[in-house]
Each structure stands twice: as structure tokens, then as C-alpha cells.
Point group: C2
Chain length 375, copies 2
């Protein structure tokens, strides 16, 4: 293991990589029999005025987070703006808000959590506003006001928001410039194309993680999902195959989970936007229920939305927002997607019941029962 | 709706039931076009000396529970013995222990929670003993010592345990005497045989709930599982069919969940004993893991045991014991059983991950990965 070294070129014909030593030291060459590319993703950095000012942070690496904490500990941060209202954005907003800092979130979409449907994102926005965080949706970042290269304000197409720090949570893109230069085929969003064994288009070259595209088991199409779960599974499969043990990674269904303070958030499969884009004929139903038996102390509200294909009834996806005990229920929907279950199958799922854990009809059952009527 | 009335005879030929009015009042006849039998189950009552003494309680109905609470509120109960260490037994032991009563549990099996494997039941027994509850396993109830028909002690084949109250938690049996007398076919454990539409062997006679047998989707054989989830689903299907809407109840996988204080307990599918009885060639693996990311505050120990068929790898069942956040994970295994997934499918399940909810590899993944190696 050589840390701090950076591969600057992949030479497939010679089975070599060119490696640059730490701190721009001289370059040497390493030979390989098998190559596994796991270059991950890089944060999106908008090319706007002031982007390199002091006080603007990415949160990609542990070092990024430590630098930010150091700044917060210095105690001169009163106002923070988070650019992007997705997973990273709302998790960072929560973290900053716990430091008693005045926080605002901006996003160019008209909703937070763009991987959920607008109606499911609405209660999340409410929870964010309830904590006193300002939310500026449908506003595009145009730049940063600075004084002597020090951040003064985050500027959108509608306003300037004074800020001591700004956090970039604009998402990531596959880190695949080296792979492209080496002649490795790229697909969706320039992620590396791999087969079910995690092999690229080139013999003896494998790839895994945030830099590769995945097969979506529900849409049947390539997708790019930069998540640790997927990366771990692909890494295992690539490693086993390189070691001569046959293994396959069949694909993803797009499960993700997060929370904002006490609001749990989860999604899997395809949502409205994706279904519309794919031209799939579907029905959706959203139900408000309880996490536990209605009378049980600690029961929490939960909203479950399910999607099914017309007229087959095939389950297509689900989204969940609610109190404690809500989000992990998404795993039932994810597993049902892997099993290619229909909505009728979901109605009849033998899910466990006991008052401290669930109503006799789980909220997922309730959503499925209503959805079935729309088919 | 006529409450307090009791059906004393079903006459299928005449499409009538004979009904006895409350308090043994006179009998009258009700006619029917369709009959739904939902007579439920009755608690097992061992025919031993002293069984009818004052101080011995069943916990089948709300009235049973209210009578027991009244007795506890009188404040003269210092010692309680729970007969039976299954779901009802340990839930009652916990309830009594919370009243600051000295509690003992007896069970004729060498383990508590007979629906789990012995190795999975062991940590539950430890948790019970840790709370100061005495556990007498492998001891058979032989009777009750009484004075003037008032309970003094619960007697086993090994000892007499002084007790002010005793709770019977010996399980239930289908309440099907009327059905049998009416010529309705009974199956496993004298539960009513129904088809996937919840119809009995007789035209226009339907049945649902704790009085019927179910199709086990993993074993492919009839089974009898007296649980509210199953009863609810069957009741819905019977009702829809009677109303002329076709609906089917495909069957159960045997999911159940409970807890003792902070120890969560769940099972689904087939366990060791059932697999041995069915003569299925299988492998099992048990893994100790964490409910959340290992470093995350509040992470709890969790043990997951999975079973797979040899050599096909078909998932056969699972059992979970652990701290908060453990038990509901059984629903993933249950859903995987409905989907007829293999262990390799389980390894690749796209389950949701975020440090407050799960490790990147869920404990179910970890168990599946190890189990795969044994195939």
C-alpha cells in the first residue's frame, strides 16, 4: 500500500500505470497483471466568481470535515449557507444547526431531496424550516461575494445571503478522466461501463465504486448511483473475480436513506420523474400511517408512497418519510423489487407484527392495498 | 352485530346456525347464504390438579388482562409464576417484573422461545435471568398446590415454586369443535382446511384466522400459525370473496417478532427443527454484528442466523436476536422468502445504508456472505 501517490496515466498496452510521488515528486512506473480502477467520484465545483474564496468548503474527505470543524471551533462563524439541498446538503445543515449557527440552504430545484417526489419532499422542507433554517428553493447559485478573497455572501439569481462559511453539496461526478484517456469505455454520466463481473471493456481491467455505472434492476437500464453500499458490493465482486473466484454483481434498485433531525427519509426503485422519463405506465399511492400500533406509546407518523406498473401490478419503487422507525422499512420495498414482486404480493407479505414494532397492517401493506385498487 | 351470543351448532344443509343468547338464554336460529367461520383459538389448559384454583390466569381476552391487573393492583401479589416460555410467557414475565413482583418462568422445553433454535434462544434466557427472573427449563407442570382453592405453589416434576398468581402461557389450539361437527374438513392440529381463496371444503363456507391452517410458502406444506397478521390478511380475503371480489391469500412464511425488555427477538421461515423434520438438506450460519455503523453512538449488538438449501442456495429462513433496531430486520428476510431469493441474491440486496441506521454491510449481508461459503 502506497499512500499519497497519484496515478497520472494508465497504459493498458504495456500493463503499466505512471505514478506521481507525494507533493508532486517524480513519476515512476508500476506494472500490473490485473488492474482495478476505483477512483471514485469528485465533488461538483461550479465555475462561478469567488468559488476559491476562503470560507468555502467541500465535504468529500475526512480532511475537508476536519478543516471545517477547526473553523467552527474558532468560534467566528455565525452564518452558514449550504449550497444544495440533497443528502449531503441537509446532513450538513443539521450538523451546522447543532453548532448554533444561523443556517440557510439554497437549491436550484423547486424542492429539497431531488431523488424524492415533490410531494414527499414537502414534509422534509417543513421539518427544515421548523428548525429555523432558511430554505431558498428554485434559486441558482451565481457566485460568491468576497472581500480580500474572504467569503462575505453567497449570491443566487434572486438574492445575496451573508455567510461566514459556505458548504458545497452539489453532488459528485465520476472520477474517470484517467480511464477515458486509457481507452476504457464510459457510459451514463461518464461513469465506467462494467459487466456483471465488474470488468470493463478491456481484458484484465476491472472497476468498482463511485466511478462505474450500474445496471438498474427495475428499469433494466444503466444508471449511476454513487453510494457506499453499491461501492462495497462491487469492490467485493471485482476483487473475487481478479482472485479467480467467479462472482457477479447483478445490479441496484436505488435504495438510499438519510434523516434531518427527527425526520427519517428513504427511497428505492423508480420515482415519478424517472418513471415519466422512461415512459412507463404506472400508478402511485401515498398513505399516512403509524410506525407502531396506533395506541402504543411512541408511535410516530409515517408516509409511504408506492409505485406499480399498469396493468401488470409489478412494484416499481417506494418512498418513505416519517418519524423514528420509518426509514429502514424501505428495505422491505427494496427486497420486494429484487424479488420482482407485484403489488398483490406486497399486500400479502408476511411482515412481522407486535405492537412495539408495527401495526398489524404495516404502513407498506396499507399503501399496497390502496394502490392495488388503482390498477 | 350481536355480541354475547354464542353459536352452538352449524347446520350446513339448512344453511343455519343455532345461537344461544347471553347467559345461557334460549337458543334461536339464524339463516345464512355465506358463512365465515372465524372462531379463533382457545388457550391450552392442562388437565392437572388445582388448575381451577383462584390465582391462576389465562391471558386470552381483554377481560383476562383486566382481572389480572385488578389482582395486581390489590397489592397482595409478591410472587408470580409464568407457565410457558414462549411469546406470551416472556411478554407476561416482563409485564409482571415491571410491577416489582418476583417472577419465575417454567417450560417443559430445554429452552425459551421454542420457535427459535436453541443457540438463538440462549441469549434470550440470559437476558431473562439478568433481570432476576428465575428460569426453570426442561420442567413439566404437574399441578398446583392450593389451600381452600387458593393458589399456593406451581408444581413441576422437579420442584414446587411458591406463587400468589400463575399465568398460563402454554399456547393455543384452533377452536374448531363446531366446524368439525358440521362436517368441515380439518387438517394440521385440527385447524380448518381452506384453499387460497379462504374457502373450506364446503360450498359457501369460508374461514379465516387462528382457526384455519395456512400454506407455508417455504416448506410447501400446510402449517398452523395463530398470529394477528395472518388472521387479518385471511379475513380480508375471505370477506372480499364473499362479497364477490376475487382475492387470494397465497400463504405464510412464519414471521414473528417480540421482545424481552431490551432484547429484540424475531424469526421467519424454517428453523433447524423444522428443516430436520422436513428432511431438507441445509446449511446455517450465525453472525454477530452491529445494528448501526460500528462507531455510531447507540450501536447495538445483533445476531443474525440464516438458513439456505443445499446445493441450490435457496434462502430457507432466518432468526434475529439483539438490541434496539434488530428485530424488524426480519422483514427483509421474510420478503426475500416471498421472492424465493437465493443466498447470493441476499448478498447483493440493495439495502439502505446510513451510519445512524445500518453498517454499509447490513448484518443480514454478513450472515449471507458467510453462509454462501458453506454451500
Amino acid at each position: 500500500v502506497r499512500t499519497g501517490c497519484r496515478v497520472v496515466e494508465i497504459d493498458v498496452a504495456r500493463r503499466q500505470v505512471a505514478v506521481e510521488r507525494p507533493n508532486g515528486g517524480k513519476t515512476h512506473v508500476e506494472s500490473w497483471d490485473y488492474l482495478v480502477i476505483a477512483t471514485g467520484a469528485v465533488p461538483m465545483r461550479p465555475n462561478v466568481p469567488g468559488i476559491n474564496a476562503e470560507g468555502i468548503f467541500e465535504v468529500k474527505t475526512l480532511e475537508d470535515a476536519l478543516r471545517l470543524r477547526q473553523t467552527l471551533e474558532n468560534g467566528e462563524v455565525r452564518r452558514a449557507v449550504v449550497v444544495g439541498g440533497g443528502y449531503i446538503g441537509i446532513e450538513m445543515a443539521e450538523a451546522l444547526f447543532r453548532w448554533d449557527i444561523e443556517v440557510a440552504i439554497i437549491d436550484m430545484l423547486p424542492q429539497v431531496m431531488g431523488t424524492l417526489d415533490p410531494d414527499m419532499a414537502e414534509p422534509i422542507a417543513e421539518a427544515i424550516r421548523r428548525e429555523g433554517i432558511s430554505l431558498y428553493l428554485g434559486e441558482k447559485l451565481t457566485g460568491f461575494d468576497t472581500t480580500s478573497n474572504r467569503l462575505d455572501a453567497v449570491v443566487t439569481d434572486k438574492r445575496a445571503i451573508p455567510a461566514d462559511v459556505a458548504i458545497l453539496g452539489l453532488g459528485v461526478r465520476p472520477n474517470t478522466d484517467l480511464a477515458r484517456a486509457a481507452g476504457i469505455a464510459l457510459g451514463t454520466k461518464d461513469a465506467i461501463v462494467i459487466n456483471s463481473h465488474c470488468r470493463t471493456n478491456l481484458e484484465n481491467v476491472w472497476a468498482a465504486g463511485d466511478c462505474v455505472q450500474s445496471h438498474h434492476l427495475v428499469s433494466g437500464k444503466p444508471t449511476w448511483i454513487a453510494l457506499g453500499t453499491v461501492a462495497n458490493k462491487q469492490g467485493r465482486v471485482a476483487g473475487l473475480n481478479v482472485a479467480g473466484v467467479e462472482a457477479t454483481f447483478p445490479g441496484v434498485v436505488g435504495s438510499a436513506i438519510t434523516r434531518f433531525v427527527e425526520t427519517e427519509i428513504a427511497r428505492t426503485g423508480l420515482g415519478e420523474r424517472e418513471l415519466d422519463d422512461l415512459g412507463i405506465d404506472y400508478v402511485a399511492f401515498k398513505v399516512d400511517g403509524h410506525t407502531l400500533a396506533r395506541y402504543y406509546p411512541g408511535t410516530q407518523p409515517i408516509t409511504v408512497k408506492l409505485f406499480a406498473e399498469k396493468p401488470t401490478g409489478r412494484l416499481l419503487g417506494g418512498q418513505i418519510v416519517g418519524g423514528q422507525g420509518s426509514a429502514k422499512r424501505i428495505d422491505v420495498i427494496a427486497t420486494a423489487l429484487h424479488g420482482k414482486l407485484t403489488i398483490e404480493d406486497v399486500v400479502n407479505l408476511d411482515l412481522s407484527y407486535s405492537p412495539p414494532y408495527s401495526p398489524a397492517w404495516d404502513p407498506i401493506h396499507l399503501a399496497a392495498r390502496q394502490l392495488q385498487k388503482l390498477l
